[in-house]
């Protein structure tokens, strides 16, 4: 079974890079991309997530404040 993964970063290029790095791992399935803390919280509430790549500095609520 694949790991359901969420990527959170406000910079599109950083998300692209992470996706590219993760694409070589067959076990990882990226189910959602988030641009800020709010979207992360929303994503965690709606779906079952195994793995979260969370940027710290993001607009609105930072990675630390996503609770």
């Amino acid at each position: 079974m694949k790991l359901r993964t969420v990527i959170a970063d406000d910079e599109p290029l950083a998300r692209e890079r992470l996706k590219l790095l993760l694409s070589s791992d067959a076990e990882i399935e990226i189910v959602e991309e988030c641009r800020n803390g709010k979207e992360v919280v929303a994503a965690l509430k709606t779906a079952r997530i195994d793995l979260l790549f969370l940027d710290i500095q993001m607009p609105g609520s930072s990675g630390f404040e996503c609770d």
């Binding site: 406000d10 290029l13 950083a14 692209e16 890079r17 590219l20 641009r35 607009p59 609105g60």
Partner: protein
């Protein structure tokens, strides 16, 4: 014969001046005014006066013996060792020493002044260079990262685009002798290149509005004046915007002055609690003081409409006056 006598009389003093001067070079204290020096000089004055009188006495004696017949009489029986002659010698030496000391002190003062001026100039240009360089490193690092990612993603045209813009910035910023001032038009090119790079980073989250008054464009501004302010607006303003971040830049000429404005719609002062904020603005202020002393204006703050605004007013200096 009187010429020969004159030579003994005056060459002597020339030799004394020269000796004093050399002594002053060798032992600087010899030509300085202090109780010890004056005491020593009094002693030297006595010795020199006596020596000179001795020489004069010898010269007179010699002339009266072997000089031309007509003049022998005039020199015969001259006695140089009396209070009056000694006084004159002593006074002359004093005057010469004082003159040497005064000239020496003045030269030294001049040398000191020149040295401190030169030092000040070196310091301030080194300082300026340091201030300019503070603007570079993390931006360069971010940009190289972005280029790496674009290449990895095989977005070659975007990577090339960023490289061209980076080249444009570094061409001005990394010259061995970065020009201290450049025309506003050139500064805005740097700003546009910078923004083009940041637009790749922020994609659709960044909206830029540049408003330019053509009559201000040939005015000289300190190199990299606007760039760090825009960088601040992005890092402390736009980076905190969840929606679209806007940066408005305007430049206009008002009479003999140029007004520059940079405004963003970020969280205003809240976003500026981040450590490091303020370094850019302090740099800007120091550089403005360096170039314009107090003939400038720098205001930064949160306007009523929110966001953050920086206003700079400097004298308009046309590129080719």
């Amino acid at each position: 014969v009187s010429l020969a006598y004159g030579v003994v009389l005056w060459l002597w003093w020339a030799a004394v001046v020269e000796l004093l001067w050399q002594a002053g070079k060798r032992w600087p204290f010899a030509l300085r005014v202090s109780a010890a020096t004056i005491g020593a000089q009094l002693a030297v004055a006595v010795v020199i006066a006596l020596l000179h009188l001795g020489f004069l006495q010898l010269a007179a004696y010699w002339i009266s013996r072997v000089g031309p017949e007509l003049e022998r009489a005039a020199y015969r029986g001259l006695n140089f060792f009396n209070v009056w002659r000694f006084g004159v010698e002593f006074l002359l030496y004093s005057v010469i020493w004082s003159a040497c000391a005064v000239v020496n002190i003045q030269l030294a003062a001049q040398r000191d002044a020149m040295r401190s001026l030169e030092l000040e100039r070196q310091l301030s240009s080194a300082h300026l260079r340091a201030l300019q360089m503070q603007l570079e490193p993390h931006f360069l690092f971010n940009t190289l990262n972005a280029i790496t990612t674009l290449v990895e993603l095989e977005r070659t045209p975007d990577a090339l685009d960023i490289l061209a813009h980076l080249n444009n910035i570094l061409r001005t910023g990394l010259k061995r002798t970065t020009p201290s001032k450049i025309p506003l038009a050139q500064e805005l090119q740097i700003v546009e290149s910078y923004l083009a790079i940041e637009r790749v980073r922020f994609a659709d989250r960044l909206h830029i509005d540049i408003n330019l008054d053509p009559s201000a464009m040939d005015g000289l501004v300190p190199c990299f004046l606007l760039q760090p302010i825009i960088e601040n607006a992005i890092n402390h303003g736009i980076a905190h915007c969840e929606d679209v971040g806007r940066i408005e830049t305007s430049a206009k000429r008002v009479g003999g002055r140029v007004q520059l404005q940079v405004r963003d719609n970020g969280p205003g002062l809240n976003g500026r609690s981040h450590p490091g904020f303020g370094i850019g603005l302090n740099n800007t202020r120091e550089r403005l003081v360096h170039f314009y002393q107090d003939n400038y204006e720098l205001r930064a703050g949160q306007p009523e409409s929110g966001g953050f605004e920086v206003l700079i007013t400097i004298p308009y200096e046309p590129k080719n006056p």
